[in-house]
């Protein structure tokens, strides 16, 4: 286990090796937060209501800030993995005494770690001047950390699975698009799931995407013990299922590599 934590930490350090480039990425989230702040101000102004679906304007904005923080730290490891599968370089990693799946998960999370920190700082920097308060509580913030971590692990697992899709199809990029768009839409990146029409809410609650974005972000602004525990359980269940799928796909792929030489 220690070896995978070491991989994670090393990767986190590699990400921050280029300070300038790294900081520029923060500009993305700043831009999105800027757009959202103005958009939502208008929306609330039009309706004239102080609350929509139980969310105040400041809560919605902080919700979005946290949602963006998580989604923009998402894993991009599927590109590396699919390239390694296609080139056959993957075979060479089998010589090393570690589990490929464990290594790639650690690699992915290591990449996410510094990004989460950066995104959080940048989002906060943009939002604070407009909203002038921080919409959270201690359990909220802690709950966010836990669910965000779980969400990123789920996201990493999905990304690895997509990468391994290269064993089956030529281009896995479209798979990632679909995933990423699903995450954005029914995951609750653009607006809290509570604002969805009821039938859509029901569907979204069953899908794993909301567990990655909506759950942590909502917990941050409106902590609720029951919700938190249900979300955690949901994450655990999906992770278990994913682990099973990943394991079988990996074993199949590895067997194919080792028998056919890739």
């Amino acid at each position: 286990m220690r070896k995978y934590l070491a991989v994670l930490w090393t990767d986190a350090r590699q990400q921050t090796a280029y300070r300038g480039e790294f900081l520029l990425r923060g500009v993305m989230i700043a831009m999105f937060m800027f757009i959202f702040v103005w958009l939502w101000r208008s929306l609330y102004a039009i309706g004239g209501q102080a609350e929509i679906s139980g969310f105040r304007l400041s809560q919605v904005i902080w919700y979005l800030a946290m949602a963006e923080t998580v989604i923009l730290s998402g894993s991009r490891i599927f590109e590396e993995i699919s390239a390694a599968v296609k080139s056959g370089d993957l075979a060479y990693t089998l010589v090393r005494p570690y589990s490929y799946l464990g290594f790639e998960m650690a690699h992915s999370l290591g990449g996410s770690l510094p990004r989460v920190a950066l995104n959080f700082v940048m989002a906060t920097a943009v939002v604070l001047p407009f909203v002038q308060c921080v919409e959270t509580t201690v359990p909220g913030a802690l709950g966010f950390l836990v669910l965000a971590a779980g969400g990123l692990v789920l996201d990493a697992a999905i990304a690895v699975l997509i990468g391994l899709g290269a064993f089956f199809i030529e281009e896995v990029q479209p798979l990632h698009w679909v995933y990423s768009k699903l995450l954005m839409s029914v995951g609750g990146m653009f607006l809290p799931l509570d604002m969805f029409p009821p039938w859509l809410q029901k569907i979204s609650n069953w899908l794993p995407f909301g567990l990655i974005i909506y759950a942590p972000a909502r917990t941050f602004v409106a902590f609720e013990a029951g919700f938190f525990l249900r979300a955690l359980a949901g994450q655990a269940l999906y992770l278990l299922a994913l682990a099973g799928v990943l394991w079988s796909v990996w074993r199949w792929g590895r067997r194919r590599l080792v028998t056919h030489g890739g």
């Binding site: 070896k3 090796a17 075979a91 089998l94 010589v95 005494p97 056919h260 030489g261």
Partner: protein, 340 residues
């Protein structure tokens, strides 16, 4: 017990034929036509602990396929192999802790970080005791003279410096066998020499078995005492490097830059390979002529500005072995094992 035992090892690949044109590709969806490629055909050999073996052959001869089987990342079609008493493809992870591998193209070092970080990481991956690791690192750093590079990001290192770090990394866990796949490719002469000396020292001081594939005759000559030549999937020569040289390197190439245009040169055993203006390339058959005599004659005939005398390329040597139909020589063939 030998470090590596290989018996009747074979690998046949099935390759799908890709046809051109729409109709043909549709047809191939229906009935894919496959052809067989026999990459490795019944290879036998044994390597004792502490030996330095060169595994040479032209591209596509089956070198990488064989090494992949020895390291456990490829299943053979038939035959057996035992590396350090483990079956590589069955006990790959156990074996991984005891072998080191340097694949010329695939680096182990994290590109944007200093080598020190990769070393620390590898210590964790190979589960080394931290004190043991520290001392080991110190020794390797000393030996490989990479102390000044430890804190420089790998991307800023020259190819030679990087290669030294790469090989040091592969030795951190004190493996018993080191597999090197084209380790000196792309390096300049001085650096090649350095790397060879380092590997030699590791072998002499620590008894690491060295299993090397290379295209470079210099690697083979300087580093290894024994050579196995593989061609079309078969080992066509297995014996001492000195014998290889003596029996099969029958010529030398002389490249010259003359002070005046070349106007022909006749001498027994000398063939003109290429001539253009003041540049000439000759092949001297060393059985029929003495190199120093030929050079003397050339110097008498033409003013010579520059001259290089080289061994023929490895491909030529191998082609010669193949043509002369020499079967495997030298070591005893290992007993045939159970088929897998």
């Amino acid at each position: 017990m030998p470090a590596i035992v290989v018996a009747n090892l074979s690998k046949t690949f099935r390759v799908k034929e890709k046809a051109a044109g729409l109709r043909a590709s549709l047809r191939s969806l229906w009935k894919p036509r496959t052809s067989e490629v026999r990459a490795v055909r019944g290879v036998d050999f044994e390597v004792e602990a502490g030996e330095r073996v060169a595994f040479i052959g032209p591209n596509g001869a089956g070198k990488s396929t064989t090494i992949k089987m020895l390291v456990g990342i490829l299943y053979p079609t038939t035959g057996t192999a035992r590396v350090l008493e483990l079956v590589p493809w069955r006990e790959r992870e156990r074996l991984a802790y005891q072998i080191g591998a340097v694949f010329g193209q695939k680096s182990q070092l994290w590109y944007h970080l200093p080598p020190q970080d990769t070393f620390d990481l590898l210590a964790r991956i190979y589960e080394l005791d931290w004190e043991v690791y520290r001392q080991r690192l110190e020794r390797l750093v000393d030996l490989f003279e990479i102390g000044q590079h430890l804190a420089t990001p790998v991307r800023k290192l020259s190819l030679g410096e990087r290669m030294r770090c790469e090989i040091a990394a592969s030795l951190l866990h004190s493996p018993r066998i080191l597999f090197l796949d084209e380790p000196t490719i792309g390096l300049d002469v001085v650096v090649k020499h350095q790397i060879r000396e380092l590997i030699l020292r590791m072998n002499e001081e620590e008894g690491v078995t060295v299993f090397l594939t290379s295209h470079d005759a210099g690697d083979v000559e300087r580093l290894c005492r024994r050579a196995m030549v593989i061609h079309h999937g078969e080992v066509i020569y297995d014996g001492k490097v000195s014998t290889l040289k003596r029996n099969h390197i029958r010529s030398k190439t002389v490249s010259l830059k003359l002070g005046e245009p070349f106007a022909g040169f006749r001498s027994p055993g000398v063939t003109v390979l290429k001539a253009a203006g003041t540049g000439v390339k000759l092949e001297v058959d060393t059985r029929a002529a003495q190199i120093d005599q030929v050079v003397g004659q050339l110097m008498a005939r033409y003013p010579i500005l520059d001259m290089t005398v080289e061994d023929p390329p490895m491909e030529q040597v191998i082609a010669h072995i193949y043509q002369s139909g020499e079967a495997r020589q030298g070591e005893d063939v290992a007993q045939p094992g159970q088929g897998e």
